[in-house]
Amino acid sequence: MTPMLTDLGIAFGRVAFVMLFVLNMGGLLTWVERKQSAVMQDRIGANRASIFGLRLFGLFHPLADALKMLTKEDFLPARADRILFTLAPFVSVLFALVAFAAIPFGDVLQVGGREVPLQAVTLNAGILYVFAMLSLGVYGVMMAGWASANNYALLGGQRAAALMISAEVAIGASIMGVAMVYGSLDMMEIIRGQGRPLFGWLTWIPAWGIVTQPLAFVLFLTAGIAATKRIPFDFPEGESEIIGYFVEYSGMKFGMFMMADFVETVVIAGLTTALFLGGWQVPYLAADGFRFPWGAALTLARPTVVALGVLAFCLKVAMACWFLMLIRWTLPRFRYDQAMRLGWLGLFPLSILNVVVTGVVLLAWRSA
């Protein structure tokens, strides 16, 4: 194989892994959401879709949903803005999908004499990239609300935009503390930093973001749930009683808005994992195998270590998704003004406070 082909293959593999991971997780989450809410509410949940009598706990429901939405009528309201109406779901889903590209899913892998960092794109300021893509997702909902030529959709779009803006400000401000502690905006560097042990008598704990920045973790998670526009922050759509920005949408275009929400859940879970849960780090797993603090050791080959890291990342993302769903089905819905107050008067000032305290502690630490 020529080097050019190898390079192309590696690049394709990196992107394909992230793409397939995010899309499949997003599809799977529709099933998880139904099943988990059913279990939590003491129901059975969706289990009727079957292929040759096989039901598999309703795992075929995402497939059935996709088939149904693709075969439904694609309706365009008479007074709608034709181009923007069609473009809005694509914009929504696109920026949710590309946001995951900068999140590393594994350590550096050696392939054919090359060092391949396991992330779709290597960026010096990876956090800023994810943040930029998340902030562009607002256009999708605003375009949808406006292009529908429906006042209720317009109001829903404005609620969604206001919510997403206030959530993103809090996300950005809470991430700042993490970037300060690990001294980088490169996700790979931040995850490396989380592999180091803590100080003093706490050396047996890895310095994950959740340990070094507990307040930022809570703030980020809260703002992250708000950014996905689902319960308890689902007033932009309010499926059962108020009308949302995609009220005029039908078929797969509606499905794409739902997909954007689920993909955003995966992105938030991925960010939580990368910034606060150690990313692909496995506790006590060094570059050449396990090194336990009580002296035991287990030497492993390099590819095995990297594979374990990728597996750990996938598991952590799945756990984070599960936790986000758990919160989603525990809390009642916020009213619009309550959510705005929480975002601007609660999350944002606390994030700034976190940045100030982190800065002071870091300065004292370095001069000591």
């Binding site: 800023l128 930029a132 902030s135 256009y139 317009l154 905006l185």
Partner: protein, 180 residues
Amino acid sequence: MELVTFFGVAILAVASALGLVLRRNPIHGALFLVVNLGCVAVLYLLLGAEFLALAQIIIYAGAIMVLFVFAIMVLIPGKEETGPDPLRPQRLLAVPLGAVLLLEAVLVLRSHVVGGGSSRFPGHQPGSPLAAVPPAVRPGGIESVGRLLLGDYLFAFEVTSVLLLAALVGVLTLAKRKAE
């Protein structure tokens, strides 16, 4: 490859700028401006200014233009432009001002092409591959931008932030007075 990207993005940037000026629908105009800002961000990226490109997207496309679109959506409910433009006579001024701007652009371009252009950053020669430069001195990388902003240009940086704060307080005062 880089040249193809450049021309593709450049054509898109000019097209979206034309769209902004020529479309009568304010929302369409605002969205064209967003596309234009995104294109400029890609151009920054082609020049190796990673941080500048991302800041451009986050601040201009992701924050300022969102507010613009939001305000247009709230204030102009209809699809069409509302009434004749009260500032129509000012449009005549656009011709001489545009000519001045064009002249300026030509002068700047000429002086740079003739002078060969020089890099502000130590350790970086124009035209050398970016990967060879360590991140701390890589122009456009977050380290060098941060060093410049909080080092050489600290005073201007702080004055700008005070100015923004003053504008914020001023707007709040004006808004409060109107409500009473």
